[in-house]
């Protein structure tokens, strides 16, 4: 929690936004510490993109306040824009220009000067593994290359705060991991990142803190570890050869929920090896043979079921 006492990079208080009768953000509060990766996790339509669009000055909020880099997004949009870099869900490159020309366009719009701009473009092409394709028109790039170019363009002006709206959606696993590595390196360089994602593993891999957004409300916030401890969806499923074994196991592992028809028993479990060993020891003590064992760790579905309650 000490990180929050340093000057925060992003502060959001009571942010509200509706489109017609549809409430998209319903009073969101959050604080992102400088130098952190903060993940906004939620399903489609949760309001993640709307929040990013408000913070990046593309859309005005209906109510509440937000500061980015110490500037009010509604009153000082120009100062906010000078601080941020945005990579949206949809590729924001000029497909009719080459990769290098796209980067030089960004360098020029950041007024880096001719020589410094050319140097920055070359440096970014190299860093994002695009050096060989710098002279190729962006329309011919693959999905992974486009995302890398997109991110490189976002970085051209050395932004201090970066918004990444579902940066890996639609990427193959290899490109996804490559992008994760790049994001980690960015934070090592001191920038702050607000990331939105639908994937729990992505938030888990990258984020210092995760906020769970559902139907325009923040339903939970914490470190990945804190959130996982609050998600009780993890369990072990045991299958037995007959009803006798099932009965004895149910008594040994009570409280547990036996399924007489499927001959299975579901036991709450936190996923640690230690707990698994203890569970197997208790079955051994009761001399029960287990036909099959599967471990189910909490996923995004469990997180939602647990943290959003009956609302869904």
């Amino acid at each position: 929690m000490t990180t929050n006492q340093i000057r925060p990079a992003i502060v959001v208080r009571g942010l509200r936004k509706s489109y017609g009768a549809k409430v998209v953000l319903d009073g969101v509060d959050l604080t992102v510490a400088e130098g952190a990766i903060f993940a906004l996790l939620g399903p489609n339509g949760a309001g993640k993109t709307t929040l990013v669009r408000i913070l990046s000055t593309l859309v005005r909020a209906d109510g509440g306040e937000a500061w980015v880099g110490g500037h009010d997004v509604a009153r000082e949009p120009g100062a906010v824009r000078a601080t941020i870099g945005v990579t949206g869900q949809f590729s924001a490159v000029d497909s009719m220009l080459t990769g290098e020309d796209n980067l030089r366009l960004m360098a020029d719009l950041h007024h880096l000067g001719r020589r410094a701009g050319r140097r920055r473009a070359a440096e970014l092409l190299k860093r994002f593994d695009l050096a060989e394709d710098g002279g190729t028109i962006a329309a011919a790039y693959s999905g992974g290359m486009l995302r890398r170019l997109d991110l490189a363009m976002t970085l051209a002006g050395h932004p201090r705060i970066i918004f990444l709206d579902e940066p890996t959606t639609g990427l193959d696993p290899r490109s996804r991991r490559g992008l994760w590595q790049i994001i980690r390196e960015l934070v090592a360089g001191g920038v702050t990142i607000l990331l939105t994602t639908q994937y729990l593993d992505e938030a888990d891999q990258l984020a210092d803190r995760i906020a769970l957004l559902d139907q325009g409300r923040l339903v939970a916030e914490g470190t990945p570890g804190e959130l996982k401890r609050r998600v009780p969806g993890g369990h072990v499923r045991l299958r037995f050869a007959g009803p006798a074994e099932l009965g004895r196991a149910a008594r040994a592992l009570a409280p547990a929920s036996p399924d007489e028809e499927a001959l299975t028993l579901q036991v709450p479990h936190d996923g640690t090896v230690h707990a698994l060993r203890a569970l197997l020891a208790r079955l051994d003590d009761a001399s029960v043979e287990v036909a099959e064992l599967t471990v189910h760790t909490p996923d995004l579905d469990d997180a939602f079921l647990a943290l959003t309650g009956v609302a869904r």
Partner: protein, 257 residues
């Protein structure tokens, strides 16, 4: 931010020039259209229409001189239509969203389109004039009149381009962006572009004499043929300035929405 507006606009103009170089077909298409009209009017209709100009005597040779100013405006309108399409296309891409999150001169993207269109129009106009000279156009303009012609063409292009930028922004799709500027292409016909307004039936004649393209065409005709611009010069400048301002304000509002 203000000192950067010029630099940012220059950057956006360079972007437009890069686009033209990458996809020259759109540029060639808008340049070919007025040339096709010129050849159609001169060779297919010119013999008959020319005779109508001065009681059965003028013929094709006189008609070339009459029709060139109208064709020049068709060239301006053709480029404006292309501009509406390219603005509309631009707005469907993520790059404009990126521009809006950057600390750059707000309308510099649009300025890029306008200056790009001016460059395209002067190319198209140069081609039309060259072809016209080859098929018998004999202007009486001196250096001063040519400069004034270039000035009027530039002013009209500036006005129609801001209007078409706004139309491109207002269009719900790229298809409708190519249809919305259609009146700009039709208006020279409903003025003194291809035949004198006096030859039209009363209602149409009234419209032809009061729509903005007619004083603009008359001004160009007066400058190129050395027959004097009469009172049309002031009207041409006033219409252009009004349309430019209206187009600019409308475009800026649509872009910032």
């Amino acid at each position: 931010m203000m000192p950067h507006v010029l630099a940012d606009s220059a950057t956006m103009v360079r972007r437009q020039v890069q686009h033209m170089r990458r996809a020259p077909s759109l540029t060639l298409q808008v340049m070919a259209l007025p040339v096709v009209f010129l050849l159609l009017f001169v060779y297919v209709l010119g013999g008959t229409l020319g005779n109508g100009l001065t009681a059965g005597a003028g013929g094709r040779a006189e008609y070339v001189n009459y029709v060139v100013p109208g064709i020049l405006l068709m060239a301006v309108a053709a480029v404006a239509t292309g501009t509406a399409v390219s603005v509309s296309l631009d707005m469907t891409t993520g790059i404009v969203t990126r521009f809006k999150t950057m600390a750059i001169g707000r309308v510099s993207v649009l300025t890029g389109h306008v200056v790009g269109a001016l460059v395209q129009t002067f190319l198209a106009v140069a081609v039309v004039v060259a072809v016209a000279l080859a098929v018998g156009f004999r202007p009486a303009a001196g250096v001063l009149e040519w400069l004034a012609t270039a000035g009027v063409v530039g002013l009209v292009t500036f006005a129609l381009t801001w209007l078409s930028v706004a139309l491109g922004l207002a269009a719900k799709s790229v298809d409708s962006a190519s249809n919305l500027p259609m009146p700009l292409t039709i208006l020279p016909f409903l003025g003194s572009g291809v035949v004198p307004a006096e030859s039209m039936p009363a209602g149409l004649r009234w419209f032809a004499e009061h729509q903005p393209f007619t004083p603009i065409i008359e001004t160009l005709r007066g400058l190129l043929l050395g027959t004097g611009t009469g009172g049309s010069g002031g009207a041409a400048v006033a219409w252009s300035a009004g349309l430019a301002l209206a187009g600019y304000l409308w475009a800026r509002r649509l872009y910032n929405r």
